[in-house]
Point group: D4
Chain length 250, copies 8
């Protein structure tokens, strides 16, 4: 490795200190830095590769899956179409597709699920986003419990489940339209609520902006918000929190 070689040359006297300093000036930003950060993150996090499938060319996408499949690794692809699945499947038979969450994954090493994340939706139309969140969290090793269609228009449905939700380490609230679920939930639990506005609705919902504003302006404590329809982001953050609860931060 370069740094080691450089230091050895200094030690052996074949490289002057002046020249070594000059070389080091560039080094940290290039190969050393690159390698270090990547290894560092993988070792500590155990987060496998994630691919945003939307807009990728078929060749590119298939290539990525083949590569990781060959290396025996797990891969999580989000926002994949059924058509993409059909194409990748031809080269990588082990790939699995979920129509609802639109997740396309290879799971060669099953991680044991730990802790607990509660994933809630206001309506049935929010389920695709919630499933992206739930399956992302599961892929990264979190145990997940689903509580779907517990929105505020029939709030007794939420109350019927609230004691169970309270037992989780973290809770995800996916809701479109007016997005009030996150507020009500945060008023009833004392765990972090990750709010995911969804684009479900019509008229003045502005593709989810209405729900986003509701969640950002919530008067209840303990809510933080991710992008509209960003189930993946919610699942990732929830997993980070769940891991902290399970084993603390190393």
């Amino acid at each position: 490795m370069d740094v080691e070689k450089l230091l050895r040359q200094v030690q052996e006297g074949t490289l002057t200190i002046e020249k070594a300093k000059e070389a080091l000036r560039e080094l940290p930003y290039s190969e050393l830095g690159y390698a270090k950060l990547d290894n560092h993150r993988k070792i500590r996090q155990g987060f496998s590769e994630v691919i945003f499938c939307q807009g990728k060319t078929d060749e590119h996408l298939t290539g990525i899956y083949e590569h990781f499949y060959a290396q025996g690794e797990n891969v999580l692809g989000t926002r994949a179409t059924r058509a993409q699945y059909e194409i990748v499947k031809k080269k990588v038979p082990g790939v699995v597709y979920d129509e609802v969450s639109r997740i396309l994954k290879i799971e060669q090493n099953i991680t044991e699920k730990t802790g607990m994340i509660a994933v809630c939706t206001a309506g049935t139309a929010d389920i695709p986003v919630a499933e992206e969140a739930a399956q992302t969290a599961e892929f990264f090793g979190s145990r997940v419990q689903r509580y779907y269609d517990v929105g505020v228009a029939g709030i007794h449905r939420l109350f019927a489940k609230i004691e169970d939700i309270r037992k989780a380490n973290c809770c995800i609230a996916a809701a479109g339209m007016e997005g009030a679920l996150a507020s009500v939930l945060a008023g009833l639990v004392d765990i972090p609520v990750i709010a995911v506005p969804t684009s479900v609705g019509y008229g003045a919902n502005f593709g989810g902006v209405s729900a986003l504003l509701t969640m950002i302006n919530s008067c209840a404590n303990g809510i933080s918000v991710v992008n509209i329809d960003n189930g993946y982001g919610a699942g990732y953050t929830a997993t980070q929190i769940n891991r902290l609860a399970v084993k603390g931060h190393e």
Copy 2:
């Protein structure tokens, strides 16, 4: 009166049919129409005069109150400042000012209160808007019950009162920030919910737009919405509904 006079002249033969037709062509849009509509509305509605005080000059405002006071009528002024009150009071001692709702009124003929309107707020900061609504409704003859600070961050407070709210003919929900109260309320009652977004909040609440969008996009049934901070409008509409419930529409 002009129409009567015209018809009499036709009857008496002092006005030709041609000339009468010509005169009538203009009439409906002018004095006839004017008088008719005004009398018509007063007789049926019993809605006294209402004044939007904000921005009126002192002379103008005092003049209006003096005029109606002299006529023995009731007047409801909204968005009045204390300074305006001080000035009007000098000329019209019977004027009454409420600091919270900013209503400046003369009430020379007390109307009996009938029916029931429930006025709810999410927080204490929404009370000024709610009071404008409540006092408007009372001024127009509605019985009003207040349920303040029953927002979704502590939803048990709302539940403690929900059976009483259900007994009203109509309910007003004033809420700022994320404005989720209207949704939760409409999910729990089966009377019309008039939602009033308030400008309470900060950051991305955009002066009440966040709450407005929440209410307009609500997935619960039976919500209709008035302008941000428009307590007066909510009180007026609620009174219309309350009257219908009390005596039907004539």
Copy 3:
């Protein structure tokens, strides 16, 4: 039933007060609450089941209609496509579809129509939204009179009908583009005006936001607003008001 059983055990001494209290702590939010609210609402409102068809899978949608059809109940589905109708019809022959309002319904028990709701539109393009409102109101038992194409660009058309509109208990104003109909209407009647902005228009109408803002900012009294194109919501609220006028609030 659980609560009864619990109380009986307490009465019989087979359950200690301590254990009964613990059980009750969970109960209200779950089965008890659930049952109570649902029964409660159905008994008082007589509002049958409503389904938002848009985005539902064919299996899911057909299942719902089969279920309620078998139970001899009425069902109102909104935003249904003709394709959805074709599919549901195969399993539920009694289902009826209206191309204009896009309502897909089963009406096994005809409710008698009472009271009167006036449904107005500014132009002919607003009719689909108005029909969703009108047919929703009729489904829930309201008598409805339609006044279409009475917008402000030819205001005499509205004046020709205004006396009839005044006789209703409530009036719905559906308008796109600049949405001025609601303001003009509310200036001429003394019944509640439910304003429905429609997405009709182009350019800076922003899919109906222009009409929504017009209606929310109206200087006329007695207007409240529902979401863009939300004919269902307007019809529901209008029915609530119409019922109050017909028989008062129980």
Copy 4:
């Protein structure tokens, strides 16, 4: 004058064609263009100098008024404060200030008023903007008739005046809140309607954007719109149209 001098030198042979061409390359964009446009416009339009007073320093503003006063010209200043008036008055006693329109003017040569422009407002709060329009039009020689407080909340007031308004060459509609006046007016007259949204209102009126959108999206024919509160612009355009009607376009 430069061009003449240049041509004379060419004629006299004291300037080569090459050098003349070079000089001409620059000329059109500079002095020639400058002089031509200015003289041209003044001769044809008779539009005197206009000054946007807002934000001008006292020295600058006073200087301008002194300059034109000394030249015996008329000057129209818009958006002037009373404080600015007090300062300018010290140096230019002939200056006249109108508190409502905030116009600060010198009128040394009274133009005869011709034609007719109708200036309408929805409410009394729109009068300052309407007066800026009316006084601008009068300053530039238009006869003006005012129709104030004829908004759609009491549409009979507008009908009482509509026949008079129809006799004008052009009509200005100033309205805030929901701004529906322009639509109703354009549906009743067949002259151009210049719509001026005003910032009057509150809540979701967004400082006049609501009225602007209403006017821009109007379904009525013959409306064109100027900026929020831009009474000056409306008065200027109305005068252009009024002149065309009075004497045609030269």
Copy 5:
């Protein structure tokens, strides 16, 4: 006619004055008003029927054209598709379609063209909107001169034509992207400039809002604005102004 009949009965003594007054109370808003306005407008304006084709059903559209064709009248349809043309043509062979402006018209009585309107565009992509404006103006009897692709990115093209444009009674400026053409034009002419923002552009043009804002905020005098892509509205207003210039307002 009803009013005449009523007056005759009063004259003949077969209708009491009381009953006549009652009948008249309704009349102005209905048949009388209706007839008067329509006749009134047609006689004075000579504006034939206009149809917004977009979204009309084939049956409805064909019916309208057949009706007016049979009556020997002219009809102007805007925003028609080629498909609509093909369908209408089967029943009304005399119908004419223009692919660029998307105007579908019957012109059985050719009006003589008078006056002059200048129609300008910034680029070639703005031509469809400009043609809708130009052909609308021509249909209503205005002489039109086109000045296309004279936008500010190559301002010399505009200057080459400016003297001709100045000779018109009114000028239309259609521009998308940043829409600066209207400002530059209004700085160079002294006739009213009707600005039409177009939806041409991409990125932060927001479907024409960028050009709309540019035009509304213009610092040049004499600009008024219509809706995005509203060529029809611009052509209509320009014709109103052109007529005033040609013969004054009657």
Copy 6:
């Protein structure tokens, strides 16, 4: 207590099961629910009382502080002015005010600080919001380390501290203007990043909306966002996460 009493009466046979059921129908939503939720939350969370001081009247505010001071409890007030502090101090000498964070608190029982939260800002102008976050977290028992002025315009400042930040359980990123700090941070750490957009900036920052959008749209993993300038919300959520890391979720 009511439930106990009720059950005893059932046990003793002095209350029928029917009447007990009826009484229980109301109970859960009122006193029982109220008490339960409150006690429940306090016991588990140890979160003391929090007060949003902004807009509270002096009497109201002083009353709250006196009440909790007398009870020997801790109180955290946010968005307090110095003037409010001066007034409260007269009655409650033990109250402490921090000019930067605008926190007004009583801390009678010092909680031991545990875990670690890293609070970062992009610039010095973001410090007030960051301090609200940091002091909120400390008040609720979190250990906090501050990393201020480490924004992306001089990214080496962030790198100099990154290893320390990585050791925290959770990290808060407060940034205005373009708000890029959150993205860069989340790319370098593997703990949850709570992003707080601040209203720092000018021009097209729209009072913090620019930073909010940056953070919501971040392509980096593990970011969730709270409202603009909502330091309190960030501190609260961070504390929830920190507690989970310290002791897991009970």
Copy 7:
């Protein structure tokens, strides 16, 4: 040429000075101006013809390419579809199409590449916009180095290349989502950064507005911004700067 001819006639006495002045009044804005500007720009800039292909008709587009091909000139067409390419190719075989950048060009005279522009992207999805920029710059004679997928979510990738980027004369940063790359880049280099927001992203990215706001509000020095997805504009400006660096401004 006209001016020369005119001057000669003046010199020869066959044209009076009066008539010459009149002719000159029009000239500068027409043929003279036109020719001058065009020639002027071509000579100094060497910028060949550029065509915005989107929305052009096939006939129009083919005609343009045939014209310039026949003249032996280079042409750069942006936003061309493959279908357009197929059609143009039939008539102009020498035309070249690039699927990624969607550039359709004829390059008959290869310009030598000089200087250096660094084109960077945050992710792989930004490459189409970056390629439009890069290929535009190359077409106009700039040497270009690409640095793709160096976004802030993995900032070490950028550091690995930063020394090379610093050696360019100008740098382009294309990024969607939160667009933080431009800020980070400008903090690390001292050359002008042309920021191109891309529409890559979803949810609250508003088609690129989020990235646009991030870049416009950047706290880093030396950033200026072009329209969303406007790779062409960035490449053009970068070339202007690169030329200045290579040879200074003539």
Copy 8:
């Protein structure tokens, strides 16, 4: 220095290669990186210290100026108030304040001005922003020529100066209202145009957003845009370009 010391220890054998590698892993992001970047930028750029004065406390601000004054350095402070100037002046007599640009600076070493930047404004109200740009550029060593009040409402004023503007290396266009100056300018010159939208205007200008959109959407080549009122940013970028033109990029 640390790196040197480290290398020496390796050379001397007092530090093992393992330990050196470990130390280096942290180094680049901390002291080394810090020093390097700062020195690096100062040496190459000669850009002195810049301070954003707005919102800084008096103590903080005075401290900064004292520090740099003592070091004999130049300092440029932007957005300073006169009050801030009065306070700083007491401690640092050499500080100079400009009322128009609001720049507060110390200039102990006068840099020779080179190259040429043209700074243009549309109106006189844009001058403060333009002066911030111009004085920033001068402070950093650029020669600047001002062209004020050359907006498109009187485009001949711009043409009179255009040949001079063309001689600059770069040009800044500051404009509010509709901001069309940048487009017109870019159509007439072939140097980079840095467009600065200003917040000058009213109504629908949205504090400068209108001008920003105009500039971003410009159809003219060679425009890039900075934030609203960001004269400093324009001056900085213009200086970068000017330097490149003067001496190329090192």
